[in-house]
């Protein structure tokens, strides 16, 4: 970072931001923005960047083109992807060996490389422009969109998209009460799961008695399948910092904490770097921009406990204790961290704040539905063609998200259910696909919005297995304090496991429902109170599957090991020996070009043969 001179006044910051915006506008070079979040890197984007830089140097193109590292663009299926500005070309699944073609053809000769273009699975046509790609069409990427424009390790790049303008606005034109009023009017609700009106929470904390107050950014993102917070922290950390600055000003806090989970090393790296850059420039610390506003941020890393995503458990963890939730009241807004008034918000919630301040409450309130304003980022994963992070206005239907944006189910399989809200949520079946997504409608359907995880399941997913999976997760992650949650999740898991193994007896489903409802009613914290949701929602919509396991001892989806068999389809078997070679139990015998035989008594149902067969000669029954 070149500019390390401290910014001492609002005027100086305005100039610094203006300079960077101008610099971006007058950029003459083509910019190759490469996606390099955790997933992009896992798929080799760093290698792509290296290769591109090498080519540029080799061909002496330094004055025509430059490479920019950015965070996650959201279209994970296409990673590593490159967006070329100003031509607006989107190349997907780029490999280092493509670097030469990109520089020689596209940069030098304005030629599009067709093989790198995204191909629409429905129409079959190649799409060149990022915005025309069906994945992006129905999205409204007010938060995530900027990930594709900036280098997250450079604060100047954040300035160049107008970053920290909202900070200037509040310090020069708004009182803390004005800020809270704006957030209340916008209708923003917490994006972490509960959906509590953010402005109201800020108001409670501001009004609470006491001089010392804290704000916390909950970046624990424990829901399996949800990673939008990771993407935001990796790709645009300054937006979160700016949101926290605005919140601290409004509430009257001088210290803030970001609690990031341990499993996100790149996010920790980028947010730490962002904080140190902001400190160097004087945007964090004492007397920010020459005003009386002081604010500093500390980072606390999680240590591998899902329950620490719960407010009071998170507070206990920052205090250096076990992550045990505690009774509310008193609520954190009155007595939180070290018994002082504390406001906790999710990363995505903080990310919305600068935009609301910049564009106004009315702008935000126009997006979404009556009860749920703004956009929501969902992580669309599982059995879906276009896996990725999807930001849509509240009110879009599930069908639109899964089929229009997500591109439907791979291999033309049948959609079965979509699981929302993580382990605290439930499964929504195909009858409810036209449900508009907002807080209330999801709760009525027996699920919750949660942090936005959306796991799509097809005909080969067994719902009893899904319930078993979530209960196994919950019994391990439960803090263990209250009997109902600790024993309840363990016993529910035991019963569902028995059912999945064909050991379920008559009346067991009813007993399971009773137990689930008791756990829901009697637990101390959100984890226990919602632990029953996976069970109750799968029984509600897929009772026939449970009954098949109990009465007929069959698993219709072909998943539960004890109830299925792997069989060789003789007509399709070409005798290629592929399955034989991978079987760990040597349960398959046969010779080259002769139909193979599977010995059921040795089979451990590992699935290796099914994976290895290229001729559809193995089936699961």
């Amino acid at each position: 970072m070149k500019n390390t001179i401290k910014i001492n006044s609002i005027k100086e910051l305005t100039k610094a931001i203006g300079d960077q915006i101008q610099k971006r506008k007058s950029e003459k070079k083509s910019v190759l923005t490469v996606s390099a979040g955790t997933c992009g890197q896992a798929r080799g984007s760093l290698g792509v960047i290296k290769a591109l830089k090498k080519e540029i140097k080799k061909e002496n193109l330094g004055d025509k083109v430059k490479v920019k590292i950015s965070g996650c663009h959201g279209f994970c299926e296409a990673e590593p992807n490159i967006i070329i500005h100003p031509q607006d070309i989107f190349y997907q699944k780029v490999q280092p060996q493509d670097a030469e073609d990109i520089t020689s053809q596209t940069i030098l000769n304005d030629k599009i490389i067709d093989r790198l273009l995204f191909s629409d699975p429905v129409s079959g046509r190649a799409v060149q422009n990022e915005k025309k790609i069906p994945f992006y069409k129905k999205q409204k990427r007010i938060i995530l969109g900027d990930n594709a424009l900036i280098d997250p390790t450079d604060i100047n790049d954040y300035f160049s998209i107008g970053g920290y303008n909202s900070l200037i606005k509040i310090l020069s034109k708004m009182t803390p009460e004005d800020v809270i009023e704006t957030v209340i009017k916008s209708g923003l609700r917490g994006r972490g799961g509960a959906g509590f009106p953010t402005g109201k929470k800020w108001e409670f904390t501001r009004k609470a008695k006491g001089g010392i107050k804290y704000i916390i950014c909950n970046a624990d993102e424990g829901d399996p399948g949800a990673y939008m917070d990771r993407s935001l922290l990796e790709g645009n950390p300054h937006r979160v910092l700016e949101g926290m600055l605005i919140g601290a000003y409004a509430i009257g806090a001088e210290e803030g904490y970001i609690y990031v989970r341990d499993e996100y090393p790149l996010a920790v790296e980028h947010i730490s770097l962002a904080i140190s850059q902001a400190e160097k420039l004087g945007l964090l610390g004492k007397k920010i921009l020459g005003t009386n506003f002081n604010f500093q941020i500390h980072i606390n890393k999680g240590a591998g406990a899902f329950v620490c995503g719960e407010e009071t458990a998170l507070i206990a963890s920052i205090e250096g204790k076990m992550g045990e939730p505690r009774q509310r009241p008193p609520f954190p807004a009155l007595k939180g961290l070290w018994r002082k008034p504390t406001n906790i918000n999710n990363v995505e919630t903080w990310g919305n704040i600068p935009l609301i301040i910049e564009n106004g409450a009315d702008w935000f309130a126009k997006i979404g539905t009556k009860g749920s304003k703004g956009t929501k980022i969902f992580s669309l994963v599982g059995k879906i063609n276009n896996t990725g992070l999807v930001e849509v206005p509240m009110g879009l239907t599930l069908r639109e998200i899964i089929f229009d944006v997500g591109g439907g189910i791979p291999e033309d399989k049948e959609f079965k259910a979509v699981q929302t809200g993580g382990p605290s949520g439930g499964c929504i079946p195909k009858e409810l696909l036209d449900l508009p997504i907002d807080f209330e409608s999801l709760t009525e359907a027996g699920s919750i919005m949660g942090s936005g995880g959306m796991i799509v399941m097809d005909e080969n997913t067994c719902m009893v297995d899904v319930a078993k999976y979530f209960l196994n997760f919950l019994r391990d992650e439960s803090c263990g304090k209250c009997l109902s949650c600790r024993e309840g999740t363990q016993r529910m898991w035991e019963i569902v496991t028995d059912i999945s193994e064909g050991k379920g007896s008559k009346g067991e489903i009813e007993f399971l429902t009773d137990l689930a409802e008791s756990v829901k009613d009697s637990s101390l914290c959100g984890l226990g109170q919602t632990a029953a949701n996976p069970v109750l929602s799968t029984i509600r919509y897929f009772r026939d599957e449970y009954e098949a396991h109990v009465k007929e001892k069959k698993c219709p989806a072909g998943v539960c090991k004890e109830l299925i068999q792997y069989l060789i389809i003789e007509e399709n078997c070409t005798g290629c020996l592929a399955c034989l070679k991978v079987c760990p139990q040597e349960a398959i015998s046969g010779e080259l070009k002769k139909v193979h035989v599977l010995d059921q008594s040795k089979c451990i149902k590992c699935g290796a043969c099914y994976e290895a067969c290229n001729f559809d000669a193995i089936k699961i029954e």
């Binding site: 994970c76 399996p224 591998g304 406990a305 920052i318 250096g320």
Partner: protein, 156 residues
């Protein structure tokens, strides 16, 4: 053990001996030694004035901490919902078979520890396996052996 004591003391003083920094101190010690030696915990208890039983409670509560020495290479298989739906458990079973240990254990020669994690946030490229800090996307049962071989070869 004088050098070790000094090192642990340096982690503690880095946080000004504040009780609230317990978890951060433990994370530093774990990163240094690949586990939490009992002597280190007793030292932390003395220096910070926190009863040993409370420290052990914190250590055993959080998954990131280990009281037993872990292997040279840590294999982490993601069992998040998306990876589960894409066949993550079968990948774990293959690792268990190849390494001859159960999830949570360490091989006898101290080379590999096998762990699971609920979600790494890389759901799009699942099933995901991480070895040390290397991420492996779209793992299949067949790829397991070649992944393990990479790390055994490194020794030779």
């Amino acid at each position: 053990m004088e050098a070790e004591t000094q090192k642990v003391k340096s982690f503690i003083s880095k946080y000004n001996k504040e009780k609230r920094a317990l978890i951060s101190i433990l994370q530093d010690i774990q990163a240094e030694y690949n586990y939490l030696p009992q002597e280190a915990l007793r030292l932390v208890s003395e220096s910070l004035g926190i009863p040993l039983i409370d420290i052990v409670g914190v250590v055993t509560f959080y998954r990131a901490f280990s009281l037993e020495p872990r292997g040279k290479h840590i294999v982490t298989v993601c069992l998040g919902t998306a990876c589960h739906v894409r066949g993550g458990p079968k990948i774990l079973e293959e690792f268990e078979r190849r390494l001859n240990i159960e999830a949570g254990g360490t091989t006898e020669d101290g080379e590999f520890s096998l762990e699971t994690v609920a979600c790494l946030g890389c759901c799009a490229i699942g099933p995901v396996v991480v070895v040390d800090s290397d991420y492996y996307a779209q793992t299949t049962i067949r790829k397991v052996n070649s992944i393990l071989k990479k790390y055994s070869k490194k020794e030779n």
